[in-house]
């Protein structure tokens, strides 16, 4: 393949992972922005979403893959949301949302979820069948002696499912934005984020908001995972990369800024994908992690200062 079509293909492939990264990172950003705690177990909610999606579709093999997948897309985030809600009630609420103790506790939760998944789901990666998977060839323009001509480069194609992942993610992200900016729940969340004491004085039940926000964060990660699982297989160790990338996105995007998080997700997702295609994925990750460390050191204002006491 020539360079032009190759870049387009890399862009399209990275757009799929970017869409999923945006969903996952928004979940982490919500928790971080509103509750002011870092959830180290966020990647495990992603993993649980994927593993549950496999389990649900496996139970529904009698029906068509589309039915199983549709059920998984609804049920898996709900189940993960319930698990996240329980984690908040049982653990994080009880350390009083102290930033450092929460980190230690969520590191513990990370291992608990990961290892329970190893004990039940097993060490193997398992695939989920996509609900539809038509291969769509993409045309490319080139200059010939007769002027511009359209041709179909060999290998330049994307599946209908991957396009659907991008579309569904965009719809979900718009949904999150609508809930936060237009509804009463969103207002309560934003009030809690700005000043929890004043919000409490106005009769908002802060702890309830925290529980629901934590559940929503987990559910968003799970949604991203259900969408990606027909492309990448479900595996009990798959939570590491989404956690690291979401961290990077949330820090670069800035605290409490939904649009900042989306922009950062687009930059990190696309550049990560492109560097990984043309150079080494390890190098891409080294650069991204160093970038985050340096941003935190030299531009902490608007990133972390408001959260760390």
């Amino acid at each position: 393949m020539e360079l032009g079509p190759h870049i387009l293909l890399a862009l399209l492939e990275s757009a799929v992972s970017t869409a999923v990264l945006a969903l996952t990172a928004i979940g982490l950003a919500l928790v971080f922005g509103i509750m002011r705690v870092v959830n180290v177990a966020h990647g495990e909610f992603f993993m649980l979403g994927a593993v549950l999606a496999w389990w649900i579709t496996d139970q529904l093999t009698a029906f068509s893959p589309a039915v199983g997948f549709a059920v998984a897309l609804v049920l898996s985030p709900l189940l993960v949301g319930a698990i996240a809600y329980a984690s908040d009630r049982i653990v994080i609420n009880r350390v009083d949302y102290d930033p450092e103790r929460t980190i230690v506790a969520t590191v513990g939760l990370l291992y608990i979820f990961q290892q329970i998944s190893l004990m039940t789901f097993g060490p193997d990666a398992r695939p989920v069948e996509p609900p539809f998977n038509t291969r769509l060839a993409i045309p490319w323009l080139e200059i010939t002696e007769q002027g511009w001509a359209v041709y179909w480069p060999w290998g330049l194609s994307i599946t209908s499912y991957k396009l659907a992942v991008i579309a569904i993610s965009i719809v979900l992200l718009i949904g999150v934005w609508l809930v936060l900016s237009k509804t009463r729940y969103g207002l309560i969340m934003r009030a809690t984020q700005q000043d929890k004491d004043i919000a409490q004085a106005f009769g908002i039940r802060i702890e309830r908001v925290y529980g629901l926000v934590f559940a929503a964060g987990g559910a968003l990660a799970a949604m991203g995972a259900v969408l990606i699982v027909p492309i990448q297989q479900a595996h009990y160790l798959m939570g590491g990369d989404p956690l690291l990338l979401s961290f990077i996105v949330v820090i670069l995007g800035g605290l409490g800024s939904l649009s900042g998080t989306l922009v950062a997700a687009a930059i990190i997702g696309l550049s990560n994908g492109m560097i990984a295609v043309f150079f080494s994925p390890t190098l891409a990750k080294i650069l991204a992690t160093l970038l985050v460390a340096l941003v935190l050191i030299w531009r902490p204002a608007g990133l972390f200062t408001r959260s760390s006491r």
Binding site: V38, V91, R94, V95, P99, E100, R101, I103, V104, A105, V107, G108, L109, L110, Y111, I112, F113, Q114, Q115, I116, L118, M119, P123, L244, F247, I251, S280, T282, L283, K285, I286, T289, L290, V292, A293, L294, L296, I297, W298, P300, L303, F304, T305, S307, S308, R309
Partner: protein, 313 residues
């Protein structure tokens, strides 16, 4: 260092430990050799986390700086093990000062994430240079290179004694640090950083010194591990080995001298026993972490100190 109750208590415990490990069956002696070297790593972590209040999630890079600093020079460049060992410690010290100069500009959660990110970059660099480091698979240091000052470190008996000497040096070395003027400033920073600064102490320099001591001691543990057990691998640079010292110190007792050793030994056996039943042995680590944060934030020795023996350091 004056010989008071706390010093005698630690010396007594270390001597008792020596008697116990010498009497143990061979399998447990092997375990304890590992435990005592890893406990040196825990002691190092305790200087920065327990006494200074710096929650780092990047100590794996200091441990593995020692591990690779010694392993690569001794195995690939054929340095004598004594020179390699010193080089490994210097690697950890230099890395800790460099990371400290940058990361200590942040505090709290940011400090944790910055150290995590640097450590992750270190881990990925180890993988990137897989040609030399052999990545996750790691490499073995051949037996003939593992003599130190004429002592063969590969035999089981010397390994046990050498690791006991190391942990004794680390525990008593930490006691010297904690009792020094610096140590008192570090505890003051942990308790109230602003007030310490107001009193005219150079907080940044004190924290940097703590991180430097901690990094050098972690590298010492890593370097000793590579020479004693003859294996160097990328697992030791992964996040898991930044979380382990945190877990060991929390379990044993943050800011206590003997706590890290007790925490390391307990956790080692918890994981060892559970790995006989399941491959998901890290489940124990997760459960212990959650239970500790919820119910025993001071750890074992910390709780004993509060309830029974306030003189424990």
């Amino acid at each position: 260092m004056s010989m008071d109750r706390s010093v005698l208590f630690n010396i007594g415990l270390l001597l008792a430990l020596l008697l116990v490990v010498l009497a143990l069956p061979e399998y447990h002696q092997g375990n304890f050799a590992r435990i005592m070297v890893l406990a040196c790593f825990a002691c190092a972590y305790n200087i920065s986390f327990g006494y200074t209040g710096l929650l780092s999630l990047g100590h794996a890079m200091f441990f593995s700086a020692g591990l690779y600093g010694v392993g690569l020079t001794v195995q690939l460049l054929e340095f004598p093990s004594e020179i390699g060992f010193l080089f490994g410690i210097v690697c950890g010290l230099v890395l800790a000062v460099a990371v400290g100069l940058l990361a200590l500009r942040t505090t709290g959660v940011s400090f944790m994430i910055v150290t995590l990110m640097f450590s992750q970059a270190f881990f990925l660099t180890v993988l990137l240079f897989g040609e030399f480091t052999r990545g996750d698979e790691g490499f073995v240091i051949s037996q003939d290179k593992r003599t130190f000052l004429g002592i063969d470190l590969s035999s089981d008996d010397t390994r046990l004694i050498v690791s006991w000497v190391l942990i004794s040096l680390c525990v008593l070395g930490c006691q010297v640090v904690v009792r020094s003027r610096l140590g008192k400033v570090l505890v003051a920073i942990r308790e109230n950083e602003e007030r310490t600064q107001m009193l005219g102490f150079n907080v940044f320099r004190a924290k940097l010194s703590a991180l430097a001591i901690s990094g050098a001691m972690a590298a010492l543990a890593g370097g000793a591990y590579s020479l004693l057990f003859g294996y160097v691998g990328a697992t030791f640079a992964s996040v898991q080995y930044s979380i382990f010292p945190l877990l060991w110190v929390l379990l044993g007792g943050t800011g206590t001298l003997i706590g890290p050793l007790i925490g390391t030994a307990l956790m080692f056996y918890l994981i060892d026993i559970s790995s006989e039943f399941t491959t998901a042995y890290m489940l124990v680590a997760g459960i212990v972490l959650v239970l500790l944060t919820l119910y025993v934030p001071e750890g074992i020795v910390g709780t004993i100190r509060r309830r029974l023996a306030p003189w424990i350091q």
